[in-house]
């Protein structure tokens, strides 16, 4: 197997972080975590991830979006997944509806929270251009 791919997870809910980490570790990824935007920014100075998964709403409404922009500036081309629980809760639909909205958000994918493990693994595999077989217990 090639070099282990590193996924950075950022979420202020430590349980969500733990569960997400488990899903990715069991899929063979290396996992680094941070629980705030500041912590993530520090982590990213020493870790160059292959992919990042960010919670949209952390200490501020827009922490995830701001962090996403920082990440893309630091590592252009790094795939980023935004996790959001706001869609159904507030009626705000932040899903990029158009190409323009997508480019503004800069995220490569948006997933509703809580996301199903298969959904996370297949999205990560897709963004890393990996065949689905990488995932050992993948259903398909």
């Amino acid at each position: 197997m090639s070099k282990e791919k590193i996924v950075v997870l950022v979420d202020d809910d430590e349980d969500a972080l733990e569960q997400l980490g488990l899903v990715l570790k069991s899929a063979g990824y290396g996992v680094r975590t941070a629980t705030s935007r500041e912590e993530a920014e520090e982590l990213l100075l020493s870790v160059h991830p292959d992919l990042a998964i960010l919670d949209l709403m952390m200490e501020h409404m827009d922490s995830g979006i701001v962090l996403c922009h920082t990440l893309k500036k630091l590592y252009p081309g790094l795939p980023v997944i935004l996790l959001t629980a706001v869609t159904s809760a507030t009626g705000l639909d932040l899903k990029p509806a158009s190409a323009e909205a997508q480019s503004w958000l800069m995220a490569d994918a948006m997933l509703d929270k809580p996301a199903r493990p298969e959904e996370i693994r297949s999205t990560v595999a897709r963004l890393l251009n990996e065949p689905a077989e990488v995932v050992p217990d993948h259903a398909h």
Partner: protein
């Protein structure tokens, strides 16, 4: 300055110019409204013209002559199906034609003005209509804002309840699928985390119920002679199991008894929130000092901690609904974000207030004052229906 548009409909040219002149420089003030209220006057000579104008761009106030060639004033009134934007109609009737005035009011006119009238009579009638119009608009605006606030509140509640539920469900799925390997300790940890999150959810629901009862005014308040010292002591005892293992000292400084007329459970909510916050957000080995002060007109509760403290910006928003200061120092502290909002609302119910002074990493001082003569338990003005969030 707010300018209201008046449309005068009369077939007498003299009446049109008279009204225009009387209202041209007329201004008045309303309590609770910033700036003067003034008028611009537009005119129409027939009922047909009036109907056209009303359809195109309805004015704020319609001064409508009863007797018009062609379509009469009453017929114009009949065609105004809905009082758009709360337009008010004042019917101009011939003197001694009380019957026409009564009919007009029955058909939805706000008021009537009997001819001949003096400029002052006109201005008084217009002032009354304008005042009523503006107040009605303000009431509608308030109701809209209230609905909006309520929607936001419910959205945040949903979000705050979804987070722990999502965490618990996530762990249950892992337990069900046995997808965390073979170490039993890992699963034990997940069960413990699930219990902590469900406990948090319960606390959130209880706080929500407290808040809802306070805000709806539906909570039955039992105002009796209470001892605030007793409430403070009970709150300290409740907090001790959390304070002692962390080496925290909690001390009460109060007169032997401090009596006031209050609802006992409300005093308990205030004291419990203050003391448990001071313990939760403290450093290990720190102090909590609860001081009660008696004065003829009010009592003061002061809770001083040696905890993580707050920045000025954080102090500013601390008492809002669902405000939780999220940072490295507070991440592992569970809270609903409603406790201090509840304390402030209760203090205000007692004609007092809740404030905070703080310094990051040094500590915070929370001060709650309660007036000895609280305002009446029920709001003097009945709330609009639907205010229950």
């Amino acid at each position: 300055m707010e300018t209201l548009r008046v449309l005068v409909v009369d077939d007498e040219p003299g009446m049109l110019t008279g009204v225009s002149r009387s209202l041209a420089n007329f201004k008045f003030r309303l309590p609770d409204v910033n700036g003067d209220i003034g008028f611009t006057v537009e005119t129409a000579a027939t009922g047909e013209q009036a109907i056209e104008r009303l359809a195109a761009d309805p004015p704020d106030i319609l001064l409508l002559d009863h007797k018009l060639p062609g379509l009469s004033g009453l017929e114009v009134l009949e065609r105004l199906v809905t009082p758009e934007r709360g337009m008010l109609t004042v019917m101009i009737t011939a003197y001694a034609s009380l019957e026409a005035a009564v009919t007009a009011i029955k058909r939805g006119a706000y008021d009537f003005l009997a001819k001949p009238f003096t400029p002052d009579e006109l201005r008084n009638t217009v002032r009354k209509a304008a005042g009523s119009l503006i107040l009605a608009r303000q009431a509608r605006q308030l109701a809209r804002e209230k609905r909006q606030l309520r929607f936001q509140f419910i959205s945040v509640v949903a979000h705050e309840l979804k987070a722990p539920l999502g965490a618990i469900e996530g762990y249950l799925h892992i337990l069900k699928d046995h997808s965390a390997g073979d170490d039993p300790a890992a699963y034990q940890h997940m069960i413990e985390r699930s219990l902590i999150r469900s406990q948090h959810m319960r606390k959130l629901i209880l706080d929500l119920l407290d808040l809802t009862r306070i805000e709806s005014g539906q909570r039955r308040r039992d105002l009796v002679d209470c001892d605030l010292r007793e409430a403070a002591q009970a709150a300290i005892e409740t907090a001790l199991p959390e304070a002692q293992p962390r080496g925290l000292v909690v001390e009460l400084h109060a007169p032997p008894a401090l009596r006031l007329t209050a609802d006992r459970s409300e005093l308990e909510i205030i004291m419990n929130n203050l003391v448990s916050n001071a313990v939760k957000y403290n450093r290990d080995g720190g102090r909590v000092d609860v001081t009660l002060e008696d004065a003829p007109d009010q009592v003061t509760i002061r809770v001083v901690d040696t905890g993580i403290g707050l920045t000025e910006e954080e102090c500013g928003r601390l008492f809002g609904d669902f405000v939780r200061i999220k940072n490295d120092k507070t991440r592992n502290i569970l809270g609903s974000g409603l406790g201090l909002a509840i304390v402030k609302k209760l203090a205000q119910l007692y004609g007092g207030d809740a404030t905070v002074a703080s310094q990051p990493d040094v500590g915070s001082t929370f001060t709650v004052t309660l007036s000895r003569t609280p305002p009446p338990a029920e709001p003097a003005v009945p709330e609009a229906p639907g205010h229950d969030a």
